[in-house]
């Protein structure tokens, strides 16, 4: 078994593989260490297993080979799932429940009463700027607001690790830029570790301290690129030479993964 990692290593993956029941190899020999407090992006074309990797880390998918430890434990064992927040590609809200009840859900499932949870839920809603929308239903909100509710729900358990699976892919450019800034400020103010899955070079460079570039068929890590740019970052960061240079570097790495992709299909 895996040795207990040093305290600063939150996630350790060693030769992790994932083979689905139908024989598809989604991930082969993925080795990766993510330290406490990092902002890491998984970047790659569709089918490169980036979402699969995220789901294995969350414990939603089992590992079919190698070793994976989160906070020293195999996923889904010996740890409190409240330590992990997960944000899906869609907001994934319950349409029958108010914004308040959607955010309250993780606490409700852990057995906390509404009264006990109230201040935590209100705090999480304030965090994403939706304090006045507690009584609204999801259908009354815009796409960006729904995504904010989804982030508030992930944050309500005060997780150490925030996993985000292409969360802003469906949003317009301006909303996406705004939410990127909000995620960055949450990450900094709450001492989070964030793993952010995306297929946008610019998004990954803007947000992360490190970009893990993955390739498809089979899904694997091809580059692990630490980015030089410091924090805090805002729109002006996009104008710096560091940003441009990082984008160029990551784009080249990503292009390398596309070499044997058949563009005709």
């Amino acid at each position: 078994m895996l040795d207990r990692p040093e305290a600063s290593n939150l996630i350790e993956m060693r030769d992790v593989g994932k083979r689905f029941a139908n024989g598809t190899v989604a991930i082969r020999d993925m080795s990766l260490t993510i330290r406490d407090g990092e902002f890491v992006s998984f970047l790659g074309p569709s089918g490169c297993g980036k979402s699969t990797a995220l789901k294995m880390i969350s414990g939603l998918l089992s590992v079919s080979g190698g070793q994976l430890a989160v906070n020293g434990h195999p996923p889904g064992q010996g740890r409190d799932n409240a330590d992990i927040g997960f944000v899906f590609q869609d907001a994934t809200l319950m349409p029958w429940a108010t914004v308040f009840d959607n955010v309250y859900l993780p606490l409700k499932l852990s057995g906390r009463s509404r009264a006990e949870a109230r201040s935590r839920v209100e705090e999480a809603l304030a965090m994403v700027g939706l304090a006045n929308f507690a009584k609204a239903y999801p259908r009354e909100l815009s796409g960006g607001m729904k995504m904010r509710v989804s982030i508030a729900r992930a944050m309500v358990t005060r997780p150490k690790l925030l996993l985000m699976d292409e969360p802003f892919a469906a949003l317009d450019e301006m909303t996406r830029a705004k939410l990127n800034d909000e995620v960055l400020s949450l990450w900094r103010s709450h001492g989070l570790t964030v793993i952010f899955v995306t297929h946008s070079v610019f998004e990954s460079v803007y947000l992360s301290s490190r970009v893990v570039v993955m390739a498809a068929r089979p899904g694997r890590v091809v580059h692990d690129i630490p980015l030089p740019g410091g924090y805090p970052r805002d729109a002006s960061y996009r104008m710096t030479p560091e940003y441009t240079e990082s984008c160029r570097m990551v784009s080249n790495a990503l292009e390398g993964t596309m070499d044997h992709v058949d563009l005709n299909h």
Partner: protein
């Protein structure tokens, strides 16, 4: 529930004055929605009355609406007794269909093998016309009321079963993952995820089953004929036709239709009350 929606809207939008043309238009439309159908029905009845009078159609062929109304008043007590019987039969079969359909639907949703082995029986019960099975049931079951109940139940049961089973499986897969991530117990998953996801399907089935329960009850009564002391509206229609009392036939027919309409209105209202604040099918669009 709807109050909180309104409050949230008020938060999001500036106050609109009561003289807003849109609100006035909406009010006018609501009034029209009540006035128009009533006017149309009254006109149709008037035309009927006029044609019967003008052509001197004998009342044993087509009675005038006024004569049907008169019969309704004269036979009120006995007709009401029959109506009460049909109402009881319909509601009891519907209640049993809900209990049985939901229970079996849950079992189906829990276990695929069980569904695969039992579903054919449910389909056979559904596709065989109840009018063809009813005589058998009346032979095997000595208590007429129970026999009628079984017939009506068979008809109303299937949509509830099938929609409950589909509805319980229809929960969003990301939400399922979310519940797994937060280690929800099976009970929590059922209570907070599967049942709410299944509600729109169940409500759609309830609307259908309400009407079907009445049809099943009427068909079964027809097959049972006028036997027994307690008889429903369908038996009255049959009995009146034997005696050539056409106005009373129409009066009983009117009550059957009325009952169907009332069931429809109640189930529609219930569906709106349960789903109105969130489900697309019951949300009123603005503008």
């Amino acid at each position: 529930m709807s109050i909180s929606t309104i409050e949230a809207r008020a938060d999001a939008m500036p106050d609109q004055p009561q003289t807003d043309p849109r609100i006035l238009r909406e009010r006018k439309e609501r009034r029209l929605r009540i006035v128009m159908p009533i006017t149309a029905i009254l006109l149709a009845l008037g035309l009927w009355e006029f044609l019967v009078w003008y052509n001197e159609v004998p009342h044993y062929l087509i009675p005038a609406p006024s004569l049907i109304a008169k019969t309704l008043v004269e036979d009120w007590a006995s007709l009401m007794q029959s109506a009460a019987f049909t109402v009881k039969l319909t509601l009891m079969s519907l209640a049993l269909a809900i209990v049985g359909g939901v229970a079996l639907g849950m079992l189906f949703a829990l276990s695929r093998p069980l569904e695969m082995s039992l579903f054919p029986f449910a389909v056979i019960m559904q596709v065989t016309p109840v009018i063809a099975i009813a005589p058998l049931i009346l032979i095997y079951v000595s208590n007429t009321f129970v026999a009628l109940l079984i017939c009506a139940w068979i008809v109303a049961f299937f949509p509830i079963l099938s929609n409950t089973a589909i509805g319980l499986r229809s929960a969003d897969h990301n939400l399922r993952d979310l519940f797994r991530l937060y280690q929800a117990t099976p009970w929590q998953r059922l209570r907070y995820l599967l049942i709410p996801s299944a509600l729109p399907y169940f409500m759609a089935a309830l609307k259908i089953a309400g009407g079907l329960a009445l049809i099943g009850a009427v068909v079964a009564e027809f097959v049972a004929g006028t036997a027994g002391q307690n008889t429903g509206l369908a038996s009255r229609i049959l009995e009146s036709s034997f005696r050539n009392e056409i106005p009373r036939m129409f009066a009983a027919l009117f009550l059957v239709s009325l009952l169907g309409v009332v069931i429809f209105l109640i189930t529609s209202w219930l569906s709106r009350a349960v789903l109105g604040h969130w489900h697309e099918s019951e949300i009123k669009r603005e503008g």
